[in-house]
Every structure is written in C-alpha cells, then in structure tokens.
C-alpha cells in the first residue's frame, strides 16, 4: 500500500502525487468544517442559554432529548428529501452529529460553574450581559472545548457515512468507490488519511482551547 501512496504514477490513479487525491481531501475537509462551524455557532449559544436560564432549559431539554437518540445517519433519507442538491444533506447529517454533542457539553459546562461565582457577580452588581460575558462563558469554556473535540470527531464519523451514501467526491466516497472497484491499497490510503485528518482536527481544537484558557495551565 505504501508503494501506491508514495508512487508518482500509481496503478489505481490515486497517490500523494495525484491532484484527485487532494480534491477528495478538500471536499471532505470543506464539508466537515462547515458542518462543525455551524454546529458551534448554533450549539454553543443554545447550550449556554439552556444552562444559564432554567426556563429555557425546561422548555427545550425534553425536545432535545427526544431528537438526540436518532442517529445522524438516520437523517440521510429525510435530509435528501428536504434539502436541495448533494452538499447540503451531507453537511446537515454531519452538523446533526456535532450539534447535539456541542449543546450537551456546553450545557454541562454552565451547570458545573460554582454557585459562588454567580453570587459574587450578584454582589458586584453585574448586569445579566456582564454575567454572561464574564462568568458564564469563561466558566463553561473548559467543557465547551471538550465538547468541541468530541464534536469534531463525530463530524468526521458522520461525514464519512454521509459521503459513502450520498456523496460524489470526498474521502468517504473515495473509499467506497475503491471498494466497488476492489482497489484495496486505495481503501487503506483513504482510511489512514481520514485518521490523520481527524487527529489533526482534534489537535487543532485542543490547541485553540489551550490558548483561550491560558489561565488554566498556570
């Protein structure tokens, strides 16, 4: 397999030196990161609100818990019917996976903030906006980033599945296509690439988290 991967003229048409390989990577990365960012932009605020205001929690949590157990993959047929084109369904399925993980971890993060910090903020006369900015968000940040790492992993997981079923390019599709054509080296190549990308993405999130939470490592 390694001979294939590093070959300038690969027998099955895919190696480190063929542009098609990078095309697949680009598509997968684009989908995974778009879905991930959407999940963060929607999931974190919702999670924060749910953890902070008990009212919001009471109205939304049961609904969330009913939708959450549905595996992201199970959304594929419905997503294909509801969303136009090829990209949106794949991104949506990936988004669902990352979204629930993000909301849950963010919610948990807010709930674990020591009550004393809120009380101190009350004494100090913080407005609700200040409480959100200076207590809720920084306090939940550790859990949020744990959640983001999990969400990142789940994104890749769901993405592969989505691409295998509904995609036309991307690493998942590449693997599936290679399988259909019995090109084993390509399959393994795809798998390892996925593993690498997944690992790097999680590491990226971890790095970012450590930078934002410098006060933790002191």
């Amino acid at each position: 397999m390694f001979r294939e991967w590093f070959n300038r003229a690969p027998a099955f048409g895919l190696s480190l030196f063929t542009p098609v390989y990078y095309e697949h990577i680009a598509y997968s990365v684009y989908r995974a990161y778009t879905a991930f960012l959407l999940a963060v932009l929607l999931g974190v605020p919702i999670g924060l609100l749910m953890g902070w205001r008990q009212r919001v929690y009471r109205y939304t949590f049961p609904l969330l818990e009913m939708l959450r157990p549905i595996p992201p993959l199970a959304w594929v047929p419905l997503a294909i019917l509801m969303l136009p084109g090829i990209e949106p369904p794949v991104i949506y399925v990936t988004f669902i996976a990352a979204f629930f993980a993000t909301v849950l971890n963010t919610l948990l993060g807010v709930l674990t903030i020591d009550r004393s910090y809120f009380r101190a903020a009350e004494c100090l006369g913080f407005s609700p906006r200040n409480v959100l900015l200076h207590v809720v968000v920084p306090g939940a940040l550790p859990f949020i980033f744990t959640g983001l790492q999990i969400a990142m992993g789940l994104s890749w997981f769901a993405l592969v599945a989505g691409e295998m079923i509904a995609g036309r390019r991307g690493l998942g599709y590449m693997i599936f296509d290679a399988y259909n054509m019995a090109q084993i080296p390509t399959i393994i190549m795809g798998m390892l690439t996925l593993g690498l990308l997944g690992y790097l993405s999680s590491a990226l999130v971890r790095r970012l988290g450590r930078a934002l939470m410098a006060w933790r490592s002191l």
Partner: protein, 272 residues
C-alpha cells in the same frame, strides 16, 4: 457612620423533600455601625444560612433584618444582593479566568462608580497596604490561598459596602497563615471601619478579631450568648498570651463546647 445591622427574631425553615428542617429559630442580634461582630458556632448551626439571608442569597421565614433602619429582609420580601453587602466566600470566589486587577476593579468599573484609572489606582494602593504590591497582572491560580483571600477582601472593600460579610474566609488556611491574615484583616478594618459580620467555627479567631462574639447553638440555631471583647485596638498576636484573652476564651469555650458536643453526636452537616 452607617452600617447598623439589626437582626430581629429571624427564623428560617428549609423544606427539602418534605422534611422540615429548622435552620434558624428566633435569632436576634443588634450590630452597631462600624462594629466587628463575629458569629461562632458548630457545623450546621445555621450561621452560613444567616449570612446568606443578610446577603440576599436566601429568604427568611420569620422575623426582620434591616440596615440603618431600612428593611432588608422579611417573610416574602428580600432585597437582592448588592455591593452594599459584599461577601467574601468560604472557598474563595475570585474569577480564575481574570487577572487580580480585573477581579478587584470589576465591581466599581462595570457599575460605572469609578473610572478604570481611578479604580486601578485605588486597587494598587490597597494591594500594597497588605503587602501584595506587584501581583496585579497575575491570575488567581498563581497565588497562594492566603494571597487569594487578601485579594478577595480588597475586592469587597473597594466596592465601599455598608456591611462586609465574611463566610469563614480563613477556614482553609493553616494556623500560621491564618494569624498573618488576621492581622491583615484588622489592618484593613482599622483603615475603613466598616461594619463587619464574620462567621467562623474557630473560637480563638473569633475572640482575636471581634468587638463582640455571638455564640450560636446547634440546629435549630439561636444566639446562646454574646461576649463583649474589651481587648484594646489595634490588636496584635501578643494579645493571645494575655490573661484577659484567656478569660474571654474560657467564657466562650464553656458556652460553645456543649453545643459542639451536641452537633457531633447528631452528625450535623452544613445545609447552606
């Protein structure tokens, strides 16, 4: 001078899962403006509950609390927590994700009571006063517990509270650090002469710091005895060896030991 705290016939009943727990039962205490009053009692006697009611974190089931004649708490009425009753918390509540300087100045600056430069200048002055000059840019994780407590007390004082509430702030400190902290607290007290409401389970601490010591009974909490500490101010650790201190300690010990025993036997745990 302002800050006379009046606690009259205060009662507090908790009802977790239907089991009525009477935390406080007819507690009365009149604290003069500028007085340093220490409430001492065994675990579970309700002293933290009382502090929470004054601070506004909890409501009273009976009785009244007022400051300078203005009603603060009564059944069904509770003034929200505010800078007039700043609290220093037991386990410390400095925001770990902000610098020391931000922690101290956030109250006045965010409420627009002081401009940022003014607040920072005042903060630096207070820090050097207690021997902590130069730590402004550090984070709480970099400080020792003693340093953190001093910063938290300064954070409370800079907000110019009417009453300063301290919830066993030195509980986690070792005895040596504690005595240094006592002197730091008294120094700040002498500077500002704020009314201080201090709770602890440490008898020696209580007598050393207080103008008056209120001994509470075990649950349901009541004021058992009030001891006036007539030791001269400013106080220093040498007073601990004087005969007068010994007499006061004896008096307090007799009152509290019985309660401590009862609490131990009953297996009391802190509620609040």
């Amino acid at each position: 001078m302002t800050g006379a705290l009046s606690i009259r016939n205060v009662g507090k009943v908790y009802d977790p899962d239907g089991a009525r727990v009477i935390a406080l039962d007819d507690v009365s205490l009149e604290i003069a403006a500028g007085e340093l009053c220490v409430v001492v009692g065994p675990s579970g006697c309700g002293k933290t509950t009382l502090l929470n009611c004054i601070a506004g974190f909890d409501t009273v089931s009976a009785g009244e609390i007022s400051i300078d004649g203005a009603l603060l708490a009564a059944p069904g009425r509770q003034l929200a927590p505010g800078a007039d009753r700043m609290v220093v918390f037991q386990a410390g509540a400095l925001f770990p994700w902000k610098t020391v300087l931000w922690n101290i100045t956030c109250g006045p600056v965010l409420s627009r009571r002081l401009t940022r430069p003014d607040a920072e200048a005042r903060a630096r002055a207070l820090l050097s006063r207690v021997g902590l000059a130069g730590i402004e840019a550090q984070y709480p994780a970099e400080l020792s517990v003693g340093m953190k407590r001093r910063v938290e007390i300064i954070r409370a004082l800079i907000n110019d509270p009417t009453v300063l509430l301290l919830d066993e702030p030195f509980r986690a400190l070792d005895a040596l650090t504690k005595s240094v902290m006592h002197e730091a607290l008294l120094e700040l007290y002498d500077l500002s002469r704020k009314t201080i409401f201090f709770i602890t389970h440490d008898l020696e601490e209580a007598i050393f710091l207080a103008d008056r010591v209120a001994v509470m009974t075990t649950r349901p909490g009541r004021v058992k005895k009030i001891i006036t500490v007539d030791l001269p101010r400013p106080r220093n650790y040498r007073l601990l060896a004087t005969p007068r201190y010994g007499e006061l300690k004896q008096e307090a010990l007799e009152a509290i030991h019985e309660e401590a025993l009862k609490a131990f036997v009953a297996g009391e745990r802190e509620l609040a």
